[in-house]
């Protein structure tokens, strides 16, 4: 038996403007559970996409050896053929098909294109038995909970004769018991000789089941910890995940903070489809004039949902709670009212929610405040051009003309167009959702400078970010969210990545002033 089943050597993957993986090496021994941890954006998912052939051979540098043979996967089918199966965080099941139909999707038990149902169903029963799921093979996916759906995904992997199972955040949306069940299953597979790669943010479960832990940071392997030799504490893992040089990545900041400008109290909101799922749970936050407040947390912690539910109830149902501006309760129940009350929300997904891509820069910038460039409903074109050019210069939007279509701009410049739109609406409170996602370091610096300038003009800024260094480098005060709740509040001067990470990861609530 060879001592490694999988070996990835010197993997480098670049996207335009970003090096997502830099010379990463990673290996898995047969029959082990190998955890892969790191912050959002550290490169875990990219590495797994390289491994499974989502990024085909040739689009990255480096070599992959599986069971001693070099692999050059062109697509996911080829990696599945050798026994590498990846289960993504968002499950890839078809809701209105049955378990059986899902299990053999793309791999139908058929002869001349005619499905052999008896065989399919008996094989399904066998597979469900192996994952410990007691459901009829004819049950529709939509009628099952997420935990059971996860098991169906795993059964699907078994149907493909999996040798190495890759799970991307498998327990992120599971409750305690379902998570526990899933981990037991992984241990059971281990006994059967199936190795797993477990990507997880829940360090408690990582330290419980993993045989070794590899830590990624900024697209590079930091270290691989052997859990059998030493006892690995969560603190030890966190130290590996964070801790990098912060100097010169952020413009210097001189905060002049005065009275509270905006506050929400007892804010509750429910998921629009799953009516019993609370996405914001008794949230109380406030921001003061000249202050930049950060909201940290993992993806799915409910930060965007909170921001959008505050911004004119753009998300969620059964929203309750009160918003106060300068101490007065304000009505922000629709987006127009929120904008009229001086609130702006710059979305995390600028292509889907932020920009009209097929329209000109000019049209995008004035959209949220067309009244300011029009007289009795008729657009004053000269005024519009003057205003738009002013913002182009002020925010340094690099474009051939303000009549250029938004779709042709780079990510950083698109983000500046979104910011221009909201600055032109002249808000007092700006909610920025992942304002620097997917843009290069130089553009990030510019965005931070704009944030500083806005704060110094006396606006209140709420910044949602998954990048801890950014939160620490830009904010005056930091809230930490988990599962729709505010679980921590720390002044930036007392905060460190370790402290915030602890709030994010720790299961019980800690409230520290």
């Amino acid at each position: 038996m060879p001592d490694v089943i999988l070996e990835m050597r010197n993997i480098t993957k670049t996207f335009p403007g970003v090096k997502a993986l830099d010379n990463v090496s990673f290996s898995v021994s047969p029959g082990e559970i190998h955890a892969l941890v790191g912050e959002n954006g550290a490169g875990k998912s990219t590495l797994m996409k390289v491994l499974s052939g989502v990024y085909p051979y040739g689009s990255y540098d480096g070599e992959i050896y599986f069971q001693g043979k070099e692999c050059r996967f062109q697509d996911i089918n080829q990696s599945e053929e050798v026994g590498l199966v990846i289960i993504h965080q968002e499950l890839a099941l078809i809701p209105f098909l049955s378990i059986t139909e899902n299990l053999f999707l793309g791999n139908e038990q058929a002869k001349y294109g005619v499905i052999h149902w008896n065989e399919s169903i008996s094989k399904t029963k066998e597979l469900l038995e192996r994952v410990g799921l007691h459901e009829s093979p004819n049950t529709l996916i939509t009628n099952m909970g997420v935990g059971k759906q996860q098991l169906v995904e795993i059964a699907k992997a078994l149907a493909k004769r999996v040798k190495l199972l890759i799970l991307d955040e498998p327990t992120a949306s599971l409750n305690e018991t379902d998570s526990e069940k899933l981990l037991q299953l992984l241990l059971q597979f281990k006994a059967q000789g199936i190795a797993s790669i477990l990507i997880s943010h829940k360090l408690s479960e990582v330290s419980k089941v993993a045989d070794s832990i590899t830590i990624l940071r900024d697209g590079a392997t930091i270290e691989t910890l052997d859990c059998q030799k030493d006892t690995i504490t969560e603190a030890r893992i966190i130290r590996g995940m964070v801790g990098r040089d912060l100097t010169h990545r952020f413009p210097p900041r001189d905060s002049k903070i005065s009275e509270t400008i905006f506050e929400v109290r007892d804010w509750n909101a429910y998921h629009p489809l799953h009516a019993d799922r609370k996405v914001s749970n008794n949230v109380n936050i406030h921001v003061r004039k000249g202050e930049v407040v950060g909201i940290a947390g993992l993806m799915g912690a409910g930060r965007t949902e909170l921001a959008m539910s505050i911004f004119g109830r753009a998300y969620g149902t059964r929203i309750s709670g009160t918003a106060y501006k300068n101490g007065q309760a304000v009505d922000i129940s629709t987006i127009d009212k929120a904008i009229a009350n001086g609130i702006a929300y710059a979305t995390e997904d600028r292509k889907v929610y932020g920009l009209i891509l097929i329209e000109e820069i000019k049209d995008n910038i004035t959209l949220a405040n067309l009244d300011a460039v029009s007289d009795v409903g008729i657009i004053n074109e000269p005024k519009e051009l003057t205003v738009t050019r002013e913002y182009r210069d002020k925010l340094n939007i690099k474009c051939s003309s303000i009549l250029q279509l938004a779709v042709n701009l780079s990510g950083g410049n698109q983000q500046k167009v979104v910011l221009s739109k909201w600055l032109f609406a002249n808000p007092d409170i700006l909610i920025l959702d992942e304002p620097t996602r997917g843009i290069d370091v130089g553009a990030k610096y510019e965005i931070y400078s704009i944030i500083n300038r806005l704060a110094s003009e006396g606006k209140g800024i709420i910044m949602i970010s998954s990048e801890l260094p950014e939160i620490l480098g830009v904010c005056d005060r930091i809230y930490v969210m988990r599962e729709g709740k505010i679980v921590g509040e720390v002044p930036a001067k007392d905060a460190s990545q370790e402290i915030i990470m602890k709030y994010i990861m720790t299961q019980q609530e800690v409230v520290e002033q």
């Binding site: 911004f311 004119g312 753009a314 629709t334 987006i335 127009d336 929120a338 904008i339 929300y345 979305t347 889907v352 929610y353 932020g354 920009l355 009209i356 891509l357 097929i358 329209e359 049209d363 959209l367 949220a368 067309l370 009244d371 029009s374 409903g377 008729i378 657009i379 074109e381 000269p382 051009l385 003057t386 003309s401 009549l403 739109k421 609406a425």
Partner: protein, 391 residues
Amino acid sequence: MKTLSTLFKNNIREYGMLIALIAIMVFFQIRTEGILMKPVNITNLVLQNSYIIIMGLGMLLVIVAGWIDLSIGSIAAFVGAIAGILIVKNDVNYGLAIVICLGIGALIGAWQGYWVAYVKIPAFIVTLAGMLIFRGLTLVIVRGESIGPFPVGFQKLSSGFIPDFFQYQYQGKPFHTTTILIGLLVAVLLIFLDFRTRKNQQKYGFEVTPFYFFVIKNAAITAAVMGFCFLMARYKGIPNVLVILFPFVAIYAFITNQTVIGRRIYAMGGNEKAARLSGVNTPRLLFYTFVNMGALAALAGMIVAARLNSATPNAGEGFELDVIAACFIGGASASGGIGTIIGAVVGAFFIGVMNNGMSLLGVGIDWQQAIKGFVLLLAVFFDVYNKNKSG
């Protein structure tokens, strides 16, 4: 300085359809041995297509908003039938009846807009239902027969011509001098507007087309307007319908280009989510887009009834297809956010000239449909091809 050919390449989307329109006009002019451009035929062409253009104005907004309306032919028939009941059967003053009918059209638009914008049922389904509902109701209220004739005043809506204030003869026939004067006025107005736009662009430092291009373009437009008026003048002058049509086209072009509402409709069609998050009340805006469509379909229905001089149960059948085709031929995008009023008007004339020219040549209705289908596909293919090449 740019050469004419690069200018052309850059503006192919804008001018492509216009050139195609001229090309088929020349083609049919030659094949029909000059009948196409005869004054009486040109006048007929305008009369036949006026309602396509009027509905095209509303349809363009619906398509730019990202949807479609299949019910307009039925709405036109239904409103025509109501006009018949009111005016012919109940002697209601036709001025009042016109106002009532426009109101009913708007109400029907509101009904459909409600389902699309607030209940979020796809417009394809809502208006397919509307197509059946209002065709059926038309049959119910006219009880399967035609209602007519309409009083002369109402007929004038589509068959009348503006009065002439001069008694001038040309080649021994009466010549409608007022028409020529109005044509001159329109030409001067168009040149003035274009000149002002150009001045403004220069003032704000935008690259403008070379001056000689500006001169050629305006000379061509003036020649087209004057040629058209000359032909009209040799028959009976400008039809009343054109007096309704021209301001409508101008107003809708203005709304789409220069107003907050127009900008918001384009934004909504381009990216509904982003528009909504920018404070655009997208459901309300979509609702009013359908209300507008309903009112315009009602106006078209009355013009059709006036032209046929009766309200018939099968009036307006298939109109929706010509109107939708006109918008797409004129460069509107089926996924929303793109399209112009002028494009839709050119598209409507394109369809109109094809219908008229093929009828003159004696092409049967069977082949006419097939050919129109191919042309629609070709026009949209040309558009997609150009977009892919430039993008």
